[in-house]
């Protein structure tokens, strides 16, 4: 369980939003809504330990966040960015295998079981035939599924995604969210930022939103159209 109490997300002096209370429990799937620039991505990355924008009391699995080493966080949280830049001849398979890097030694030698597991996950997402293709030559949507495969390969308890719906066609979007729902039902936690409120209602257990620089969370069943107006259109 991830628990935040009296936290705020700030970049330097600038406070993006406050977070009085927030919990992410096992089996939950939470969508995070908010205007452009409200701090959604910063929040996700802060919880992954990629930036130092989270201030306040935060616990991950009963352990204080500030005491966790980056390596421990990585074992717990898998992160899917909006887009991934790579350099060199990175094949889709290499990208998926990189999900497990923190487990390997300095030489980064890859075991055969890992390759088999990676291929299996790729097949599960119907992109197994692309595994030997160069990552940069894949379409944006295929890259996105590849990034999901990498996160699944990491096999963490928490899955964080930054705009998972971006670049995907309707079919792949359904596939992506069906997969995410399955992961949540297996007892893991899914937390993603999105600009598609209808996805929140359709797939999620809860909806979190940033309103007036404050993070609030409600049950997905309580979500209504009026909320969109409140989050996005009011100043």
């Amino acid at each position: 369980m991830i628990k935040l109490h009296n936290c705020n997300i700030s970049i330097g002096e600038k406070r993006l939003f406050n977070c009085p209370d927030f919990t992410l429990e096992k089996g939950q799937m939470i969508a995070l809504l908010g205007k452009n620039g409200s701090g959604k991505s910063t929040f996700l990355r802060a919880l992954c330990g990629f930036n130092k924008s989270l201030f306040g009391d935060c616990w991950i699995d009963e352990k204080p966040f500030i005491q966790l080493h980056q390596k421990e966080i990585q074992k717990k949280i898998a992160y899917v960015p909006v887009k991934q830049e790579v350099f060199g001849k990175i094949h889709l398979k290499d990208l998926v295998l990189s999900g497990n890097m923190s487990e390997r030694n300095f030489m980064d030698l890859i075991r055969k079981e890992e390759v088999v597991k990676a291929e299996m996950i790729l097949n599960q997402l119907n992109i197994g035939h692309l595994s030997e293709n160069l990552f940069v030559q894949l379409s944006d949507g295929e890259q996105k599924l590849g990034l999901l495969a990498k996160a699944l390969f990491q096999n963490a308890d928490y899955l964080f995604l930054d705009e998972p719906e971006a670049f995907l066609d309707v079919g792949n979007r359904m596939k992506m969210f069906a997969e995410l729902q399955k992961i949540a039902q297996e007892g893991k936690s899914v937390f993603f930022s999105t600009h598609q409120p209808d996805l929140a209602k359709k797939y999620c257990t809860h909806v979190a939103f940033i309103e007036n620089q404050e993070l609030k969370i409600i049950d997905a069943t309580l979500y209504e159209e009026q909320l969109i107006h409140r989050i996005f259109l009011e100043d």
């Binding site: 990355r45 790579v86 350099f87 990175i90 990208l95 990189s98 890097m101 923190s102 940069v136």
Partner: protein
């Protein structure tokens, strides 16, 4: 390697070359001197060339830019300025390179690396390369100014150094140079594969792989700076090996795994360095080493640019 040892101005039978290498003493004592000289020279070429290629590979993955290299980014120029300073200021120094040359050479290389690292936060890709080139030009014009106020012997010494050569093996510091260089190469091969594998995905992956970003960045900078400064000081500013060989390695191997690429770059760098040295020694007239490395290096770079945009993400 063997070709380079056995082939040269003084004609020595192959049989004798072999027996001297095996530790037996031939009847002609001057031959064993020549062979020893050639053997050290070849050793120098293998490790200096290999180390340069490795440093080029690391620089490219670190800056995520296929056209980066120790020469292009002005790191070796930084070392040159230091060396020029030392040679021109310290006439009391005897031998090839003294302590002050090493110290100032290192300082020059590290100052340039620091500038590049700070700039790398704001500018990316080609912009950074252009800035590196400008640093090179700035450094070389600075050296020209220095040469203007120096006497002929000092100038000659600097110019000879600037040609680049693997022949400087007679100075006292040569063995310690080889030892330090081998250690650095070993560190690269053992510690860097995973770090660089993570680095090509960006900083998030570096911390996801369990590294501190600041710490590993510092480590990479220090190792690159040490290798480039050392090789530049010992052999002069050698161009193109550092930038071209990693490209060839990336092309030849289907993988992006840096363990393979590091070893491949080392072998490639060593091979080209020895090959250049063979050509140099048998050309019959004094050729700068850089003329030869540029002969094969420049076409490779052009080829990289031509096919670059797709797989290497030129920005």
């Amino acid at each position: 390697m063997f070709v380079n040892i056995s082939w040269g101005d003084a004609l020595i039978p192959q049989k004798d070359v072999f027996s001297i290498l095996c530790g037996k003493i031939s009847e002609n004592s001057s031959w064993s001197y020549i062979i020893e000289e050639r053997w050290l020279r070849t050793l120098n070429a293998v490790f200096s060339g290999g180390a340069l290629a490795i440093s080029g590979l690391i620089i490219q993955s670190f800056f995520r830019n296929p056209l980066a290299g120790p020469g292009v980014l002005g790191i070796s120029s930084g070392a040159s300025v230091g060396v020029a300073f030392a040679i021109l200021a310290g006439d009391s120094l005897s031998g090839w390179l003294g302590f002050s040359q090493y110290f100032l050479g290192f300082s020059g290389a590290f100052i340039v690396l620091m500038i590049l690292m700070i700039l790398n936060k704001w500018v990316k890709g080609v912009t950074l390369l252009v800035i590196g080139l400008m640093i090179s030009f700035f450094a070389s014009s600075f050296v020209s100014l220095l040469l203007n106020v120096s006497d002929a012997i000092q100038t000659k010494k600097y110019v000879e150094w600037g040609f680049g050569s693997f022949s400087m093996v007679s100075n006292d510091s040569f063995y310690s140079y080889m030892l330090v260089l081998m250690l650095l190469i070993l560190v690269c091969l053992l510690y860097f594969p995973k770090l660089l594998n993570a680095w090509v995905y960006g900083e998030n992956q570096v911390s996801a792989a369990g590294y501190s970003i600041k710490g590993s960045r510092l480590l990479i900078i220090v190792i690159i700076g040490l290798i480039v400064a050392l090789v530049t000081l010992q052999c002069g500013p050698i161009s193109f090996i550092g930038i071209a060989i990693p490209q060839v390695a990336r092309m030849l191997f289907k993988t992006s795994h840096h363990l393979v690429l590091l070893i491949g770059s080392f072998i490639g760098g060593a091979f080209i360095a020895v090959l250049s040295d063979i050509i140099l020694r048998n050309a019959g007239f004094a050729l700068p080493l850089n003329a030869i490395t540029a002969l094969f290096g420049a076409p490779i770079i052009i080829w990289v640019i031509l096919r670059g945009s797709k797989t290497l993400q030129m920005q």
